[in-house]
């Protein structure tokens, strides 16, 4: 038990070092990107060509293979940002601040993807592009939080204070998000009876569920790859003039 704990501690300390992360991620990147693209291809092809069409919605339901994974990833990334913010505030690990900076635009793009694909799905099935439904509203607020983090970061010249500021905001936002979600639920249920259900996950048949799960896995892998690439780019930007970075560049040439 003690050994495991010290191994985790060692890994944590290594994770905080830019050169270590840069070299280890260059080994992971090719494998994981091939894996992510493969699983993404399998999931999408399975979902679009080999799963049955829905009894009520016909073929249009197939956008679920984009929409649900994007929405799930969007929320998970925010949770990851808040965790990184906590790590940065408590232990001042500089990698955590960089992680927030690198991941926030990715999270914002997936939230936007979830909103847009939801609108495209909603048009033929509900007859409108947008409903002020609880789930839609809280996703919109999630996008606003991402944009606020990106905007706050870009307003600082000093990277260190920028990291600290976005860490505070990410944490406070994460505390607030469940409250927003809950209050939007109350507001919604009191305003109108829930006539629209976004989707019925429990009643989904296994022939549709398996490709969906593959797609969700593929999206998480894609986020992993995108995240590695963004973090590496951000490390390169910050450590441009450091010795270790120049050495790597020269070696690769």
């Amino acid at each position: 038990m003690n050994k495991l704990f010290s191994a985790i501690k060692l890994f944590y300390h290594k994770l905080g070092s830019y050169p270590w992360f840069y070299s280890i991620s260059s080994k992971f990147l090719p494998i994981s990107s091939v894996l992510a693209l493969m699983i993404f291809g399998i999931g999408i092809v399975w979902g679009i060509f080999y799963s049955p069409s829905d009894a009520t919605q016909g073929e249009i339901y197939r956008i679920i293979y984009m929409h649900v994974p994007a929405a799930s990833v969007a929320q998970s990334i925010y949770f990851a940002l808040a965790t990184a913010g906590f790590v940065y505030i408590v232990w001042k690990m500089k990698m955590a601040g960089l992680f927030i900076k690198a991941m926030a635009p990715i999270g914002a793009s997936f939230t936007l993807l979830a909103l847009i694909s939801g609108a495209i799905w909603g048009q033929p099935t509900w007859g409108t592009w947008w409903v002020w439904d609880a789930r839609l509203t809280s996703t919109l607020v999630l996008l606003l939080f991402y944009l606020a983090i990106i905007g706050l970061y870009s307003s600082f010249d000093n990277k260190k204070s920028a990291d600290q500021a976005v860490s505070i905001l990410a944490m406070v936002g994460a505390i607030n998000l469940p409250i927003i979600k809950k209050s939007v639920d109350w507001w919604n249920t009191l305003h109108q009876p829930s006539s629209i259900r976004v989707f019925e996950e429990s009643s989904i048949s296994s022939e549709m569920l398996y490709p969906l799960l593959v797609c969700i896995l593929a999206f998480y892998l894609l986020v992993f790859v995108f995240g590695l690439m963004a973090i590496r780019a951000e490390i390169a930007k910050r450590e441009m003039n450091k010795e270790w970075f120049k050495k790597i560049i020269i070696k690769n040439d």
């Binding site: 505070i168 927003i180 809950k182 109350w186």
Partner: protein
């Protein structure tokens, strides 16, 4: 304790000497309210239906304008640096500043929103619900606004609004619901608002202290 008292009287003195701090949110609030009948409709029935939401949105916007600059003057003239360097408790500084700002900018707006019974035909029997929810809600909004102001010290004010408005969404929802629904539901929303207040006071004020500190690192 002595520090708390003298700091409180300093803040009160600043606000009472500079009347524009108190008057401009009031003017803004009244103009905002006056624009809604002009832009939407002057039908009393429609207006009385919209009134709780309109009052809450205008209060939120007026509060946003006044609370965001709460640390700005002290930051610009260097007194905040001095408080920080002298080792005063920043938590006390933050709490006193927010509270005094609330007294001088939010309280007049709350009193003024009583007049919405005449201006927006707000139903009289729900006036107590509105005032009660405004008391709690404006305090919570002040805390979120102070955090946004502290994070964006020395930056443009649009950024502070972009941070503050999504954070204060639950207050808007709960507050306008409390002043819309009948008296049976009111305790539910008032209790939720007070829970939110007690929850956010310690967390947000600590976050505020952290946000001020990052400008001096």
């Amino acid at each position: 304790m002595i520090f708390l008292k003298s700091f409180f009287s300093r803040e009160v003195l600043i606000y009472s000497k500079k009347s524009s701090n108190v008057i401009s949110p009031v003017i803004f609030f009244l103009i905002c309210i006056a624009f809604f009948p002009l832009a939407v409709s002057n039908d009393p029935n429609e207006l009385s239906k919209l009134a709780p939401g309109l009052i809450w949105i205008c209060i939120l916007l007026a509060g946003m304008l006044s609370i965001q600059t709460i640390f700005k003057e002290d930051y610009d003239d260097g007194s905040l640096d001095l408080f920080y360097v002298r080792g005063f408790s920043m938590l006390e500084v933050v709490l006193v500043k927010i509270f005094v700002n609330w007294i001088f900018t939010a309280l007049p707006l709350i009193l003024l929103s009583c007049s919405m019974v005449f201006l927006l035909y707000f139903p009289v029997d729900k006036l107590f619900n509105l005032i009660g929810s405004l008391f709690l809600g404006t305090l919570i909004i002040s805390f979120f606004g102070a955090l946004a102001g502290a994070l964006s010290l020395g930056k443009n004010s649009i950024l502070a609004s972009a941070i503050m408005l999504p954070l204060s969404l639950p207050v808007l929802i709960l507050g306008s619901s409390a002043s819309t629904y009948s008296n049976e539901n009111i305790t539910f929303f008032i209790l939720l608002l007070s829970a939110l207040l007690f929850f956010s006071v310690p967390i947000i004020s600590l976050a505020c202290v952290g946000a001020i500190r990052l400008h001096y690192e």
